[in-house]
Every structure is written in structure tokens, then in C-alpha cells.
């Protein structure tokens, strides 16, 4: 009878009347809700302003966009365009330490590489997926392929992000799991695995309930977890955002959001405190704390505090007039700032990944239509970034010392695999894999763990 019921259910729903063409309405409602949420709770690393229009513009025309013809202003310092890149050569510019492919993520979730520990083991995650409802983790030796399965953490089906993968412990953070119900936030949760004791411990802090998103949380040099808690929100202009050429709201030149910086012990759940510092985006670089006045809009000034001496300096990073700061990464006395700076002409975006030193010197800005995700790797000597245009899409590496822009791939996977911290000269990236998929371009993705060859 169960089989009969299955047939009946399929039969009863097999002849639907024509669906109304409601996707435009979905998009309108979705954009409106995103804007409302943006004015609500947005973590520093989950910066959304200005990125809404990217794909619908960049995917239409496979030719590289002409930024000059569109009247896009040039950034303050040295500038590089994606068209100036050359293909990276494996074995010369980089080497793959290992790769891992999920051929069909369209059918189900799979296995993921969530980072590399300081002693060179991959944090391998299996699930959550239909045959593995709750994720399990292993430390995988890339030399032998051997997996050391860890005790299962009590994390439900939460999405997890690695924020520290040291020889002593693994620290993952997860958001509240309000999911569809948009229910009350359970707050930010940290899951700490002690590698010596082989035990997981989960910590949550009532004081950090408003910081319900894990994005932007960082482990500081003192081993504490630093969390941005929303403080002020940039205002939406009277009458809403102006509409760009494609009918999209263009929120370039937005007011920034600010956050109160809190920190929490990862060993004592009762030890949590307000650091009495209001920030926009922030990151640590050795014993320095680097932050901006605001983010997800205007950046304001960049501040650098020596945590040993308390000495503090600040400078104007000279973002463009209309630039929204969307991403922030600091390493090796350099700062990478991903920005959206407006849409021009027939829909050409001014996207930038700007690198400055912690002294305020302009290093380079990669400027193009559809580029973001700037991340400093190899101790800040190299910059990885992602491009989304059809002609220029893929993963790139910029050699800051050598002034070379290298293109690792010609496409970036729609599936977010191969993301997480990596020590030394290692870095993670991905490319599409599997069969052609109508929805996602390719049904799967291949994660690469690669090493920069200097």
C-alpha cells in the first residue's frame, strides 16, 4: 500500500496547471528582504551590500567589460585588470598538494575540505547529506590519504566554519539554526576539539546572542574568540536606493555598519567581555589588531593597534568615493579590502580588491567587473581572488612581490567547497567538476589544496 500511495501522490500532482510567471516577483521580494536584513543583522565577513546585481550583469556578455569606456574611475594606486593575467603553470607557479572532487552535489551534499591544520592535515568533513545526516570530521593526511575519524561533534546540521586549525585544537563556529522558521536566534556557537584529549566541547554565550552569524569571528593572538556584535546600521536613503541600468537597486556609496567587538574565552564559557572598541571590519595580523571605522558601506579610516604596546596608528585607505567595503583580510603587514564601487554605463560594475600596507601605502588594486573575495595567503605575499564574469571567471593569484597576476582556472564553482584556513604557502580554491548541469553549470566541484611555489 505504501507503494500504491507513492504512485497516487505522484499521479495526483502530475498535471499541474501552468505556473504563473512569478520569478520576477520572487526576485523583487528577495531583494527587498535582503535589503531589510542588511539593515538588520549582518556580520562583517558576510557583507552583502552591492553584490546583488553582479551575476545578472556579468553573465550576459562573455566579452570582458571595458571599464574605461563605461567611465569607471581608476583607483588611487597601482591598478591591475584581470585581462593582464597569464595562465598559472602547475609545477612552476604552484603545485597541487591534493584535490578532492564531489561529482554530483546537485543530487546531494558530499564531502568537503574545510581547511588545513598547522601540521599539514586536512580537515575533512563528510555531510550533512542524505546518508550522513549529521556531519562527521576526519583529519586526513594528504601524503597517505589516511583519515583519522574524530568523535562526532554535537552540532546538529549546522553549517560550520573553521576559525583555528592548530596543532592543539580545532575551532569551528556555527550560526544559530533558525533556518526556515526564522525563529529566535540561538546565537553564535563555537565547537572546540582538543586534539590531545580527542574531545569536542561546545560553547555559547548569552551575551553574544545578537551576533547570530559566525562570519567575522576571529581567533586572536591570545587564543580568545573575537566576535563583532552589531551596533549601528547604515541608513537606506530616503525613497530607497537608486536603480541601475539593469533595474537593480545600486547601493554603492552606502553608509557603513558598525559593530561592538566582544571577546570570549574558548576554554571558560563564563569568560566573555565587551572589548569597548567599535569597529567596522577587523582582523588580526600577528600581535596587531587592524580595523576600519565601518564596513558594508563606507570604510572610514583604518586603525592598527600593537597589542603588546598599545600603540595605535590610523590612516585613510583612500577607497574610491562610491566604494563599499565588503571584505577584509590582513596578513604580513598587508590589508586586502574587497569593494563594490558602483555600476556604470550599460551595467559595468566597478569591483575592486585593494591591497595597502598597514602603514597606509597603496600596494595594488585589482579592478574589474565581477571580482571579489580577496584573501591574503602565503604570509601576505600573495593575494587570491575570485572572478565571476564569463570571459574572466575563475580563481586568480596575484604575486605581490613579483607584480604578476596568474589565472588558476577559467571558472569558479557554484558550489562552495575548498574554503578554510591554511598554513604556510598553502591555499584552498575550487573549480567546477562533474556533468553539465542546467542549474549550476556543473553538477559538482573539485577542491584544490595547493602550494605557492616561490
Amino acid at each position: 500500500m505504501v507503494n500504491e500511495l507513492r504512485e497516487l501522490l505522484r499521479d495526483a500532482s502530475s498535471a499541474p496547471p501552468q505556473a504563473p510567471g512569478d520569478l520576477p516577483a520572487v526576485l523583487r521580494s528577495g531583494r527587498r528582504r535582503v535589503r531589510l536584513r542588511r539593515a538588520g543583522v549582518v556580520g562583517a565577513g558576510a557583507l552583502t551590500a552591492g553584490v546583488v546585481a553582479l551575476a545578472s550583469v556579468a553573465w550576459v556578455d562573455p566579452a570582458p567589460e571595458d571599464l574605461e569606456a563605461a567611465g569607471i574611475p581608476r583607483p588611487a594606486g597601482p591598478t591591475v585588470r584581470l585581462a593582464e593575467s597569464r595562465p598559472a603553470v602547475e609545477g612552476t607557479d604552484y603545485r597541487d598538494v591534493t584535490t578532492y572532487a564531489n561529482e554530483d552535489l546537485d543530487a546531494d551534499n558530499g564531502q568537503y575540505v574545510d581547511g588545513v591544520t598547522d601540521d599539514g592535515l586536512l580537515l575533512f568533513r563528510d555531510g550533512p547529506r542524505s546518508d550522513q545526516l549529521f556531519p562527521r570530521f576526519a583529519l586526513l593526511d594528504p601524503a597517505t590519504g589516511e583519515k583519522d575519524w574524530l568523535p562526532r561533534p554535537d552540532v546538529g546540521q549546522a553549517q560550520l566554519w573553521a576559525v583555528e586549525l592548530s596543532e592543539d585544537r580545532l575551532v569551528l563556529v556555527s550560526p544559530d539554526d533558525g533556518l526556515v522558521t526564522d525563529g529566535p536566534s540561538a546565537g553564535l556557537t563555537a565547537h572546540v576539539f582538543d586534539r590531545a584529549d580527542r574531545r569536542w566541547r561546545s560553547l555559547a554565550w548569552p551575551e553574544l546572542r545578537r551576533a547570530s552569524e559566525p562570519w567575522g569571528a576571529e581567533v586572536g593572538p591570545d587564543g580568545r574568540l573575537y566576535v563583532p556584535v552589531p551596533a549601528t546600521r547604515g541608513k537606506v536613503p530616503e525613497g530607497g536606493w537608486p536603480t541601475g541600468p539593469g533595474g537593480e537597486a545600486d547601493d554603492a556609496d552606502a553608509e557603513g555598519d558598525t559593530f561592538d567587538l566582544w571577546s570570549a574565552s574558548l576554554t571558560d564559557a563564563g569568560d566573555v567581555r565587551d572589548e569597548r572598541l567599535r569597529v567596522g571590519a577587523f582582523d588580526f595580523d600577528g600581535d596587531s589588531l587592524v580595523w576600519t571605522d565601518s564596513s558594508n558601506g563606507a570604510a572610514g579610516r583604518v586603525h592598527v593597534r600593537d597589542l603588546d604596546t598599545g600603540e595605535e596608528t590610523s590612516f585613510d585607505p583612500r577607497l574610491g568615493e562610491r566604494c563599499n567595503l565588503l571584505g577584509f583580510d590582513v596578513a604580513g603587514d598587508r590589508i586586502a579590502m574587497s569593494q563594490y564601487c558602483g555600476t556604470y554605463g550599460d551595467g559595468v560594475r566597478d569591483d575592486r580588491v585593494q591591497v595597502v600596507t598597514t602603514d597606509g601605502e597603496q600596494v595594488v588594486t585589482v579592478q574589474d567587473d565581477g571580482v571579489d573575495g580577496g584573501r591574503l595567503v602565503a604570509g601576505g605575499d600573495f593575494l587570491t581572488l575570485t572572478a565571476y564574469g564569463r570571459a574572466s571567471g575563475g580563481t586568480y593569484v596575484y604575486d605581490i612581490g613579483g607584480g604578476r597576476l596568474l589565472r588558476l582556472s577559467e571558472a569558479h564553482s557554484s558550489w562552495a567547497v575548498g574554503q578554510g584556513p591554511a598554513p604556510g604557502d598553502l591555499f584552498l580554491w575550487n573549480e567546477p567538476a562533474g556533468r553539465v548541469s542546467e542549474v549550476f553549470g556543473r553538477s559538482g566541484a573539485r577542491a584544490h589544496v595547493s602550494e605557492i611555489l616561490r
Partner: protein, 173 residues
């Protein structure tokens, strides 16, 4: 990164399947479209995070079911339908018609919303008990008991119909 083109492709491709699921739960194609639309809006809002881990379809299904259950909760406290729904089979239909669409939809319509969701998710979406529990945010035991009650009710309706004899080798409910 909000990849709107990818979202549009996903929504266009998943919409019909989601609409069928919603229809089986609510029994009305127009309302099913509304639930799917609300579900897809929720997917849009969460899209960057979904793409990060490849859980788009599962989340979309969850969003649609949630939209339906939210509506059912509101409806149960604010609306009292007084007229019979002409799209549903009458008692006479059930007694005389073979097991067909209307009979099934009438039987489903007689179930409480969560029981209906359990049946649709278990036997149309082919989700396991654990997956259904995860989606409905309840225990596996609740899914089993809700499904069991739903099947008991459905069996009493469907087996009363002329074509309701148990098929040879069919799995017992």
C-alpha cells in the same frame, strides 16, 4: 556573493517540483504557488550561505514546507471555512469513486497539517524518517507517530473505495 543568475536558474528548475510538493500538502495549486514563492524568497535571502555548502534543494524544500505550516497555523487560528471546497471529493465520491486524485486529495485534506507534511515528505519526496524529522524540526519518534496516524486515516478512506484492495506483495502500512 549573491549569485543572482545561479539563483534564477535554480528557482526555475526547482519550482515545479516544489509546487507539486506544496500542492499535495495544501490541495490547491494557487496556494501551492504562493507557498513556493514564499519559499523561494527565503531561499534567495539565504542563497550565498546555501551555495557555500550545496544545500539548495533541501533548504528550498524546507522553506516551502515551513511556509505551508506557517500558513496552516495562522489559518487554524483565524479562519473557519464554512463552504466545502468544490475541488475536493465529496463523501459520496469517496464511497463510489475508484482511488483517484480527488479521493487522495480529499483524504489528505482531512489530515492535520503536520501529518499531511509527513506523508508527502515520506512518500512523495521519499525522505527517510530522520530526514523528515530534521526538516520538520521534530524528533524521529514524532515523525513515526504522525505518519502512522496519517496512514491509519488514509487507509480507512482509501480501502473503503472500490479499488482499495491491498495489492499482492504490497508493503503493509
Amino acid at each position: 556573493m549573491r549569485d543572482e543568475a545561479a539563483f534564477v536558474e535554480f528557482a526555475a528548475s526547482a519550482r515545479e517540483r516544489l509546487r507539486r510538493t506544496a500542492y499535495l500538502m495544501c490541495g490547491d495549486w494557487d496556494r501551492a504557488s504562493d507557498f513556493v514563492q514564499e519559499g523561494l524568497v527565503r531561499v534567495y535571502v539565504r542563497w550565498p550561505r546555501l551555495v557555500r555548502n550545496g544545500g539548495e534543494l533541501a533548504y528550498a524544500r524546507k522553506a516551502v514546507v515551513s511556509a505551508y505550516l506557517d500558513h496552516a497555523r495562522r489559518r487554524s487560528s483565524t479562519e473557519r471555512p464554512t463552504e466545502p471546497d468544490p475541488a475536493l471529493a465529496s463523501a459520496e465520491d469517496v464511497a463510489t469513486a475508484v482511488v483517484d486524485r480527488q479521493t487522495l486529495m480529499a483524504a489528505l485534506a482531512g489530515l492535520p497539517p503536520r501529518q499531511r507534511a509527513c506523508v508527502v515528505l515520506r512518500y512523495f519526496e521519499d525522505l527517510s524518517v530522520a530526514e523528515t524529522a530534521a526538516l520538520l524540526r521534530c524528533t524521529e519518534g514524532t515523525v513515526k507517530s504522525q505518519t502512522s496516524r496519517a496512514l491509519f486515516s488514509l487507509r480507512s478512506v482509501l480501502e473503503d473505495s472500490p479499488s482499495g484492495e491491498q495489492a499482492e506483495g504490497a508493503v503493509s502500512w
